[in-house]
Symmetry: C2
Subunit: 452 residues, 2 copies
């Protein structure tokens, strides 16, 4: 085995370590730019950078900081935006040659909100083709020969390498939780509909804007500031929870979800989770699991269908606009995408309705697990990032939260062979704040020393 090539991991927590007080936004931006200068040629996290615009925004944020006029608690934070989300000052390429250089000339709703909160938008981060399966150019900063995960590949890699302090992603299967796990970041996939997707090109019924960052506090606050200014998707109440990161709260019960990924998971990963559970039991928490609890068993059986049901729903919902792109320029789509479209065009509306009904049944079964001070727990991926850049990895552990529309976070608590792996904490519809409260407590209980 040859030595790994990697770039320095420099996750940059913003709220937790009081970075605001220590340095000005402009100083912090220059640190990010230095990291980019040193590492971007290897990591390739970005499709575009607006350094001039970011410096100007950082200078304004620095002034506000100096004058005590900060616009929000994330004023001055330095962000990357997944390249399916529109930005007025940079192209939105969607990982597709069909959109290379495309300029919508407007910010997505989430980006407007973040700028209003004082955030500095530094660049657009690499996505797989239309946020689906065909990888972009990004490599995992922990090991350049490994995938960063997808589809929010550049967002997770950029956060891990300290190119930005946090980044927006999206998730319809595993696109936020998986790359965050592979890159050793905190990732948050909110309750479906919780963050306004206006101007984000992921119009699937279970897709959701996600946040990837260096600490729980940052990802909560970024999500909160978006919701406060732009709300959720039309017709949804938007992210529900407090204006500051939820305080740690010990859960009474954790439901261990094996998911469809358990049998194929890396045994070392399963052992790490088992060990963590033992420590949590020692701390006084009750663990419910499929072997001893019929309701958990029913939920496991239900979520075992997460991937096929999600795939059917996404296929139908993705017929448009893929069919228009195929008709315009079939060579502009990857072979995988054309195949997906062929599958989709073999579906009928009745097939889609059946998949929606299955999803509703899965959600109903899962919702019966809800109880006071109860969250679910599982791995965030079947192991560390696999070798190679041709696949973004197995999504089996990440897809349940997507099909459920449930809030989930991944915490960078485990390491296998020196590569990061996440512990996932899932909650119930609109219980995003409960997930954060439990996750914060688990982080402390399991110790920050296990973080890399």
């Amino acid at each position: 085995m040859t030595a790994r090539r990697s770039v320095p991991i420099r996750r940059r927590p913003f709220l937790r370590d009081g970075g605001v007080k220590a340095l000005s936004p402009r100083e912090r931006l220059e640190e990010c730019l230095a990291a980019i200068g040193a590492g971007e040629a290897d990591v390739q996290a970005f499709t575009a950078l607006n350094i001039t615009g970011a410096r100007a925004a950082a200078d304004r944020a620095s002034e506000r900081q100096r004058d005590g006029r900060r616009l929000s608690s994330i004023d001055g934070i330095i962000l990357g935006i997944k390249d399916i989300i529109e930005t007025a000052d940079m192209p939105t390429g969607m990982g597709s040659p069909l959109y290379e250089g495309w300029q919508s000339r407007r910010d997505a709703a989430s980006v407007v909100a973040l700028r209003e909160a004082g955030a500095i938008i530094l660049g657009k981060t690499v996505t797989t083709e239309f946020a689906a399966t065909v990888p972009g150019k990004t490599r995992n900063p922990w090991d350049l020969a490994r995938t960063p995960g997808g589809s929010s590949s550049g967002s997770a890699a950029a956060v891990a390498a300290g190119f930005v302090e946090a980044a927006l992603g999206t998730q319809v299967i595993g696109s936020t939780i998986r790359p965050a796990s592979f890159c050793g970041c905190v990732g948050f996939k909110p309750t479906a509909g919780a963050l306004n997707r206006g101007g984000s090109h992921d119009a699937f019924s279970q897709s959701c804007t996600g946040v990837i960052g260096a600490c729980l506090e940052d990802v909560w606050q970024i999500a909160y500031e978006i919701a406060a200014r732009a709300g959720g998707d039309p017709g949804f109440p938007g992210l529900i929870g407090p204006a500051a990161p939820p305080a740690a709260r010990q859960p009474t019960q954790l439901v261990l979800l094996e998911t469809a990924g358990w049998d194929a998971a890396d045994p070392r990963a399963r052992a790490l989770l088992d060990e963590a559970l033992a420590r949590l039991v020692a701390a006084g928490i009750r663990i419910a699991r499929r072997k001893s609890d019929a309701a958990v068993e029913r939920a496991e059986v239900a979520i075992a269908q997460a991937f096929p049901v999600s795939s059917a729903i996404n296929a139908w919902e993705g017929r448009w606009p893929l069919n228009t792109y195929r008709d315009r320029d079939a060579d502009g789509l990857s072979g995988a995408m054309r195949e997906r479209l062929t599958v989709a065009e073999g579906m009928t509306l009745a097939d889609y309705r059946a998949a929606l009904a299955q999803r509703a049944a899965i959600r109903e079964t899962y919702a019966r697990l809800a109880a006071p001070d109860t969250v679910c727990i599982t791995l965030s991926a079947s192991g560390p990032a696999p070798e190679g850049l041709g696949s973004t990895g197995n999504p089996a552990f990440a897809v349940p939260s997507s099909v459920l529309g449930a809030p989930t976070v991944t915490l960078p608590l485990f390491a296998v062979d020196g590569l990061p792996l996440g512990l996932q904490v899932l909650g119930f519809k609109d219980g995003d704040a409960d997930v954060f409260a439990a996750a914060a407590w688990i982080l402390t209980a399991l110790g920050a020393d296990r973080k890399s």
Copy 2:
């Protein structure tokens, strides 16, 4: 009073009068083009025409008709598309100078579906600014000094003048029912979510693609063919109902809804509705009304809030992308739109949640009226199209179906001063086919002689 200036009213039913058998699609297209040649300078229904493309599509449809290879029962129908809905071959201007000439280079999901069904897309029809309140250039074919209604102004006017056989509109307040009523067309606003809005720039939670045509059969079939191929909005089951226009079926009970518009309605319009109700009673139908039925009274009280609740919801949901347009080029927005944005920016997420809760309560109260073979009935507008082109008219009768997300049709049954006025038949969530069955029966019962 000076003589009215008008253009000939030439509504062109497609399925009902067997136009398919009599003429080829190309022959029918040439009739439409002749009507456009004679009348478009006065009516100004279009923002763009693709005559070459339409003739080529019509020739292909004519061949299919000749060879018995028609793609659907609407193969060869000639359509207009509201100019907030994307078309690959024509610009999508959204009634705004900010989008003048904008080419998305793709068809909206509904347009893809219609082309797959063999429909001929002839042109883009004038909309108010971003489908809101500021009128476009279109005039009412029945009286060029009057508004055609809005926001689907060009769609309704083009159908009335025989420029097209049917057209797509949208409705978030009164934008399909009102112009259809003012222009003497059949209009259909389906259950919210029933038709896929991909590529239609009306991302409001209660907005819906609508269909305007010359007969019930056409508008049903157009909606059906869209849903069969493109489904509804992501996560929705899509239009529910048969593959052919629902047969007429006598309702047992009609619920008369006065709506918030009753007191201000033209007394002649109210008298026409009263007279129609008397004839329906004579035909054996029971009429429930607020004075004698407590559930109806509760529903009336609830839907009286339709306009303010809709306005609050639309304001919040429209903050984006209006805020990006204002920041880019404030002069590109009308004063009315800038004011709307100012109001919206004064709202908080809590205000929006309160409006959503109000809407949910209105829907719940209305849903209690649902009963077998029961539909609701009211005017489609407070009177015929008002004089002047500066306003698209009072939406008080059209907005209840929008806030309710309920299916509704307007039938061109009444006339006041020789100007058309619609009778509206409203149903309950996913009961679109029931609305059509009842409307078809009512049409026959009240007599086609009253149609203009």
